[in-house]
């Protein structure tokens, strides 16, 4: 099995809340939590990670660019980046075994090409690395159990298994309906009754003798009832 990747460092320049270059060193501690007052740029760190690994070089929470807003990729850059002539970018450094790989992604312009290292690490994610607080709040407070189940399945990318489960449930209910179909059961009952009409349920010597002698009795009865000449 290949060695896992660990972040060594993350650098933000002119990106979101960080105008001047800021490097976060993760090489000493592998487990990380960020505590800071509001407006200190905590979200920008997570934004930088989402941006780095995003397919289109944007952030889901930035929304769509329109005439009357500054949404979309343009919001990746710090407000003053252009004025300060700072090129917005995010850079990462990862280590796998002893190999350190660096990559940088420009956060302005039409082409915000994903670096090779981000593509490589991206392929290793089996679960989306970013789950936002608002998604968790909606998950806990608003969603029904069924919706929560669908959310977890989506986060864990279990779509095909959920589809299989849905199909199995549907099949089970359809089979139940077919098995309890009264018309079909009556047809089988009728067929069974017809085919077992002459069956001997248990050996009863007197009944067998009675049945076997019925033609004789019938003939006798006919003869006795016929007018004598």
């Amino acid at each position: 099995m290949a060695d896992p990747y660990f972040f060594q460092s993350l650098n933000l320049t002119g990106f979101r809340a960080y105008l001047q270059p800021k490097t976060f060193d993760f090489s000493k501690k592998r487990c990380l939590a960020i505590f800071a007052p509001n407006g200190s740029g905590k979200s920008s760190v997570v934004d930088a990670l989402e941006f780095m690994f995003s397919k289109d070089g944007t952030l889901e929470r930035l929304g769509q660019r329109a005439i009357n807003n500054k949404a979309g990729p343009i919001a990746l850059a710090h407000n003053l980046a252009e004025e300060a002539q700072i090129a917005p970018a995010v850079a990462i450094s990862v280590i796998s075994g002893k190999d350190v790989t660096n990559g940088s992604r420009v956060a302005a312009g039409a082409k915000r090409v994903i670096p090779a290292v981000a593509t490589t690490v991206n392929a290793c994610f089996s679960v989306s690395p970013i789950i936002r607080g608002h998604a968790l709040r909606t998950f806990v407070e608003i969603h029904t159990p069924e919706e929560r189940y669908a959310d977890v399945a989506k986060w864990l990318q279990l779509g095909p298994l959920v589809e299989v489960q849905k199909n199995l449930r549907s099949l089970r209910s359809q089979i139940k309906i077919a098995a309890e179909n009264e018309t079909a059961l009556q047809r089988v009952d009728t067929q069974l009754a017809r085919e077992t009409n002459q069956a001997v349920k248990s050996w009863n010597a007197a009944a067998v003798l009675f049945h076997a002698s019925s033609p004789v009795r019938n003939a006798t009865a006919r003869n006795s009832s016929a007018p004598s000449r």
Binding site: A123, F125, S126, Q157, L158, G159, P160, L161, E163, V164, N167, L168, S170, L171, Q174, I175, A178, V188
Partner: protein
Amino acid sequence: MKPNRRRRLITFLKALGADLTAKEGVDAALAAILTTHILKGAPSQNAVAQAKDAIVNLAAERANPPKVEVANG
């Protein structure tokens, strides 16, 4: 979904179908129907209807076993 992820899920479903079919105490014909129609990465639109028809046919076959031919004489 990433291709690797999808491939792994499909492999899992195939293995599940094979395991189910070979498992003692499991109706092999029924398991084969589930494997063919339901336990797939990309089931067809009418997979459930096809599986239901196959199960109903199987039940009908079992309810009407072929008659044993009795040789005359």
